[in-house]
Symmetry: C2
Subunit: 284 residues, 2 copies
């Protein structure tokens, strides 16, 4: 971005909204995370080796390098904004805005070499429940980046070029594709609630980590249901999905910005149908 | 390859082994499959749209286009070899060799937009149980290709360049990462056998389709256990994994070239440990 288009800190603090330069900042964060992470991906993740070298863990190394790189950029480019990262906790800001970072979401996928982990970046309005202004899901190995937000048209940039993102209109659970990462989902009760939905849909798939949320934003799947999430797991995907026309709430239909039990749906009809089964209203 | 290095048909038929040009043929097949498939990937897979256009199904279209493209090349380049494709059945050859093709392995992953499906190519010795001479697993969207065989050093060509493949020495189930595609695995008994292994390992992950076998060859994971496979599901991955130092058999330790119940292991120790639990020898 040119200097002439850069807003003053006052403008940013006043609007509390996305301005064009925030997207450029998010791209720079994701670029920095990619460079920090990729040297560690598929680089000697032998369990035996880890033990032999006193706890060397490439996932932890990559996770930290990614967050350090993003925090350094934010300190330079957005000194008034808060930062909340998975690895290094919260840094207070004065702008009412907070960058929420998961330097590697899906560390078990990363450890296994799958292309399903990602870097999650959100710019959010601070508050009791943070609300995403801008969200980004980046998959460094594929070289694929999904993003969108308030006033930021949702797009994917990837191996096949650039495309707009839009969730799809699948209206019935019977036609829906549902993803979650682990079959057990969470607690026993959470697993049972998940399976009430899973038993009704056309197809259930597992193991995609944050990539599942990107596929929902891209109109490829219809539902993602997970439990036990943190704010940094959900705010980045939430920003992208909402910009693409989808809905992300907790299992009670309330705001999902603090994580916990999360349901992401392609549209209101599917969201309503999933919530009913998650809450088991039919059996009471 | 230059014309001067191309063997005569007689040489090929006599050795029944891999010669350098077979690898070039396999690369050309995978290139053709990529070109045929990618226009269909993430291109309007709306369920509602499918019905509206009388059964239009992008997965089926891509599957067929991929196999047609590969068969056309084989008819030209290897007219004496047999061809066995998932979509179009068996074409007899006279050379004692057969190209075994799965034009898209993981159609449900493809349908969902995940980067876990692949094109599987094997050159095998024909027989009651085909044995792979050369195997290839290609992921067109990532642009990543795993291959190896008898006299073909195993390699991956991907977003980060080229690297040799080698399975890893994890010796104990307690340190192993196990993958399968569906949590139910197969029949109820097959699911129970799988869970005897799953309960012992460090980490179980799902949903990777054929990509799991590639990760095993790359030394990222230790075990893949599946059931209900066909020859075209297993021969390509088997060629790569064997070249990388791994072992692929059925659950009884016999040849896996006809599919069925398949266990792929990074090394002999893990393979033995997994077979014992799959067969439940301990409880008899």
């Amino acid at each position: 971005m040119s200097d002439t288009t850069e807003p003053t800190d006052d403008q940013t603090a006043t609007t509390g909204q996305n301005d064009p330069d925030d997207l450029a900042v998010a791209h720079r964060l994701a670029d920095a995370a990619r460079s920090a992470i990729l040297p560690w991906f598929r680089a000697g993740t032998l369990v035996a080796d880890n033990k032999a070298t006193q706890g060397f863990d490439p996932v932890t190394e990559a996770d930290r390098a990614s967050e350090v790189a993003m925090r350094a950029l934010l300190a330079e480019l957005r000194p008034d904004d808060g930062v909340w990262g998975e690895e290094m906790g919260q840094t207070e800001g004065t702008s009412g805005r907070i960058w929420v970072l998961d330097p590697i979401d899906g560390t078990r996928g990363f450890l296994s070499g799958t292309p399903t982990w990602g870097v999650l970046i959100a710019l959010a309005r601070a508050g009791a429940v943070p609300e995403p202004i801008l969200g980004m899901v980046d998959q460094p190995y594929i070289g694929e980046r999904f993003f969108g937000g308030i006033d930021v048209p949702p797009e994917v940039h990837g191996p096949l070029g650039r495309a707009a993102l839009s969730t799809r209109p699948t209206a019935r659970l019977e036609d829906a594709i549902l993803f979650t990462t682990f079959p057990e989902v969470g607690t026993k009760a959470e697993g049972q609630a998940f399976r009430r939905v899973a038993d009704r849909v056309r197809l259930v798939r597992y193991g995609m980590d944050c990539y599942a949320y990107a596929l929902l934003a891209a109109g490829q799947i219809d539902l993602v249901i997970e439990a036990g999430l943190y704010a940094y797991d959900v705010l980045g995907p939430m920003g992208v999905i909402q910009a693409a026309g989808g809905i992300v709430t907790d299992w009670q239909g309330g705001p999902a910005g603090n994580g916990g039990q999360v349901v992401a749906a392609a549209n209101v009809e599917l969201h309503r149908a999933a919530l009913e089964l998650l809450q088991d209203r039919t059996s009471h």
